[in-house]
């Protein structure tokens, strides 16, 4: 019964074991020829009990923004507004931890698609670029052949689908077709696809376009689990996979030497309780030689200008004078509301 939604089972654990990874810096990174970075971050589920999905997506948003991707190149889709939910005891904040260490809502969150705008249609239109003609540029994925795109999806899913908004779902085939259309239109250089849902790896199994590295929080048949509950708000506060991802990303800086292999190993089974799936057959480079900033940071090429043009004559453009003045001969104005001019003499 593949079209039935199977809700995930959420297990809360009050403790978690911190782990560490042996950091080894590869001698030479494989050079990437991307010229810009984009991020598409999607939270597909509504309602207060899905608080953790908003915390998930904002955790990633916080990280990519901190690592340098500007808001104009982040498409953030959040289907519910937890920060302003009346049930939120701490308005305008979203925490990813019961200890309230990091307010992932931050000071400036720019949500591009919100509420009921987060639909399968808008998501596929965004990816394929087939947006309605009056869509503002901030809601478009204006990538080109030199763009590295980070796609992060979170929500409730099942074998072969991801549920949007309790009412519809995107299937793995649709997603694979959308990515193929992006590839055919030369709209990306490389894609790093992350998905944190139940049976998450089913979403990338049908991909067939090149240059995609995909990772998922759980394999088919497994549930992705939440990390811990916050008794102050009464719901689970973040999912396990994203919790460890954020913990990892918090230690990454713009000049970090960490590689994608380290990222892919970020949540071992002992921590996640589900097996993190990775698909690397479509990806041409060796993940152990790809710096994490190729996808999470915004490494923009900078070219120093040394060939200033020494202009001889100061140019004067033939001005096209635009007369802004009105054609009223006599200018009229309002009198002040309180007739101060009448009492001016007495006050002096």
């Amino acid at each position: 019964m593949w079209w039935l939604h199977i809700g995930c089972i959420f297990i809360s654990l009050s403790t978690f074991t911190p782990y560490s990874l042996g950091v080894e810096i590869p001698e030479k990174f494989q050079k990437s020829n991307h010229t810009n970075n984009w991020a598409v971050l999607v939270d597909t589920s509504r309602f207060w009990f899905n608080y953790r999905h908003v915390a998930n997506v904002l955790s990633i948003y916080r990280s990519v923004k901190r690592l340098g991707i500007p808001d104009s190149q982040i498409i953030l889709m959040i289907s519910d507004d937890m920060a302003c939910n009346p049930r939120n005891p701490r308005p305008a904040t979203i925490f990813n931890n019961a200890h309230e260490q990091i307010n992932v809502y931050g000071d400036d969150v720019e949500v591009d698609y919100r509420g009921y705008e987060v639909s399968v249609e808008n998501f596929i239109r965004l990816l394929t670029g087939r947006v309605p003609p009056d869509t503002p540029r901030s809601k478009q994925l204006l990538t080109d052949e030199g763009s590295n795109i980070l796609i992060y999806l979170t929500g409730h899913g099942g074998d072969g689908f991801l549920k949007f908004q309790d009412s519809e779902e995107v299937t793995s085939q649709e997603l694979a077709d959308a990515l193929e259309q992006m590839w055919q239109k030369r709209r990306y250089n490389e894609i790093f696809f992350i998905i944190d849902t139940c049976q998450a790896s089913s979403m990338y199994e049908k991909f067939y376009s090149p240059n995609i590295l995909a990772t998922a929080s759980s394999l088919v048949g497994e549930d992705s689990l939440s990390h811990h509950v916050d008794s102050a708000i009464g719901v689970y506060i973040i999912d396990r996979y994203t919790y460890y991802v954020l913990e990892f990303l918090e230690n990454v800086h713009t000049n970090s030497q960490k590689t994608m292999t380290e990222f892919l190993a970020v949540c071992p089974k002992s921590a996640c309780l589900s097996t993190v799936g990775v698909r690397r057959d479509l990806f041409k480079r060796d993940p152990s030689k790809v710096p994490i900033t190729d996808f999470f940071g915004s490494v923009r090429p900078v070219v120093i200008t040394t060939n200033t043009i020494d202009i001889m004559d100061i140019p004067k453009r033939k001005k096209t004078e635009i007369e802004n003045r009105t054609k009223v001969l006599e200018k009229r104005k309002y009198l002040p509301q309180f007739p101060m001019h009448l009492v001016q003499g007495s006050t002096q």
Partner: protein, 532 residues
């Protein structure tokens, strides 16, 4: 008994006719109708034309006129140029050669200055004709080859022929940049210039982090109008430009600048900022400049007024060598450029510090950045060949010609690729709808591509540009049309889930009755046991 039998027979035949009519309606009328009405709507597309784009003419014809002192020099040069362009996939020169008229010959001998010599040629020939380039011999030349702003190149004698060919390839026709348009891999010029568009916004932001401590006098509006405006006027045939300027105050950026002792500087020090820090400035600029809200692609130009406590600011390369340039500036491909203006010691020393940025230098730097962003690549140095340094705002005439050729090829190539991708996708993904409007766009794009290719082969670059622009826009519209996703909520792999509950309850008895119906039509008894 017989009465009863005939009655059952009549009932039997009634029942059979009833089920036959069910079969007739459902299978003979219903199924084809259902098949027809649920077909993905697709207009017939010119697949054969799309797949035969490779057979269209690929070369751009250019006119080249050789004016030499004698026939032999001209013929030698012609042969050499023809040989050099023989293998070229892009440029096909149509060479006309002539001997200089006595009058022009004398005039060229007489005038001392090269610019005056160009003037003389302009008097005899029409230099304003686009896509037409003159190679003129001039004996009293200091260099082997001389190239200025006009569509004229001087060469000294037949010894310079090899240099002439090289200058033509690398400067005038920029064959490597042109072939980069068609290649699969992205070259430097392609990754720098903005993709073709109907128009661009050019926004100059004057960034002033310390308005309370330093007064800055700079007329941004006037500067944009005069300098950038004059420059883009030359290119207004290609794109629409919208010019804007704005001031951004209090934009705080941590350069992590280090104080370095500098004896050449009035204040005895400068501040060093590392090159790998600069891309972060772009991010914080972008946040405030908000230029991405515009409907058209934007070229950002930012004049960063360095605060007094960080002046003068000096960019250092990654190997700790300072950048030697009149203005400290950098650009980012496909984004724009940033120029740092550092106030001098006297500017900052006043009681009310005031600073007038040097408009001519600042705008000269911006123009140097704007040129590659708009597709005029930087010319490289060829030894013994002299290219007059650019001293004016406007681009050189032959550069504009080259830009027109570049953009035309780019738009044709992009449109071809878009249509080929679409054709391939239609084969791969079955539920893409092609409406009549999209079909019309595709057809018009195909026609425009063919027309533009032929116009290029004839050397009519301006009309070719217009046509290629139409092709490009039509192909983009076709690929990006929202109606292509009309069947988004009706994916193929879910059709069973929709149709089976709908048809199974009806089709089941109909299909089962088929056997009985066939038997009855053949005249065999349907229910043998009953008769016995």
């Amino acid at each position: 008994m017989s009465k009863h039998e005939s009655k059952t027979e009549a009932e039997e035949s009634n029942r059979m006719w009833a089920s036959a009519s069910f079969v007739g309606v459902l299978i003979i009328i219903g199924l084809p109708l259902w098949w027809k009405t649920t077909e993905v709507y697709r207009v017939a597309l010119p697949y054969d034309k799309i797949s035969s784009f490779d057979q269209l003419p690929r070369k751009v014809a250019v006119d080249l006129k050789i004016l030499a002192y004698d026939d032999v020099t001209a013929a030698d040069l012609e042969a050499l140029i023809e040989k050099a362009f023989e293998d070229s996939d892009i440029i096909k020169p149509r060479i006309q050669k002539a001997v200089l008229s006595d009058e022009l010959h004398h005039a060229l001998e007489y005038v001392a200055d090269e610019l005056d010599a160009v003037e003389e040629i302009n008097r005899a020939y029409n230099l304003t004709e686009r896509n037409c380039f003159y190679l003129v011999q001039r004996r009293n030349l200091f260099q082997h080859v001389w190239l200025g702003e006009e569509r004229v190149m001087f060469f000294r004698d037949s010894e310079a022929s090899r240099l002439v060919v090289e200058s033509l390839l690398r400067w005038v026709y920029q064959t490597s940049v042109l072939s980069g348009v068609r290649s699969e891999t992205v070259d430097a010029a392609r990754s720098t210039r903005l993709p073709p568009a109907a128009g661009y916004h050019v926004v100059l932001s004057v960034v002033h982090p310390t308005p309370d401590k330093l007064e800055v006098e700079f007329d941004a509006k006037e500067a944009v109008e005069d300098y950038i405006g004059t420059f883009v006027d030359e290119l207004s045939y290609l794109h629409n430009f919208t010019l804007k300027s704005q001031w951004l105050y209090l934009l705080d950026f941590n350069f992590q600048a280090k104080e370095v002792k500098d004896i050449n500087e009035d204040r005895g020090r400068h501040f060093s900022v590392r090159r790998d820090r600069l891309h972060l400035l772009l991010t914080s600029l972008e946040e405030r400049a908000a230029t991405h809200v515009a409907a058209l692609p934007t070229i950002n130009l930012a004049l960063y007024i360095v605060p007094c406590h960080l002046s003068p600011l000096q960019i250092y390369y990654d190997d700790d060598k300072p950048v030697q340039a009149t203005m400290q500036a950098f650009m980012s491909p496909k984004w724009g450029g940033v120029v740092f203006a550092s106030p001098s010691a006297p500017d900052c020393g006043h009681q009310h510090p005031a600073f007038h940025p040097h408009t001519r230098l600042v705008m000269g730097t911006f123009l140097a950045q704007l040129r590659p962003l708009l597709g005029i690549p930087e010319v490289d140095y060829i030894p013994d060949a002299f290219l007059v340094p650019l001293r004016s705002v406007a681009a050189r005439k032959w550069e504009v010609d080259s830009l027109v050729r570049l953009r035309t090829l780019e738009q044709i190539t992009s449109a071809q690729r878009t249509l080929q991708s679409l054709a391939q996708l239609l084969g791969e993904i079955s539920n893409i709808v092609i409406t009549d409007e999209v079909g019309a766009s595709i057809n018009s794009a195909v026609e425009s591509i063919q027309e533009a290719s032929h116009l290029l082969a004839e050397g009519d670059i301006m009309n070719a540009y217009d046509t290629s622009k139409r092709a490009y826009l039509a192909a983009e519209t076709a690929f990006m049309d929202p109606s292509l996703l009309a069947l988004l909520y009706f994916p193929d792999d879910q059709k069973y889930a929709i149709y089976i509950p709908l048809f199974l309850p009806i089709m089941f008895p109909v299909v089962l009755s088929l056997k009985n119906l066939l038997l009855w039509f053949r005249g065999k008894p349907v229910h043998k046991d009953k008769i016995e």
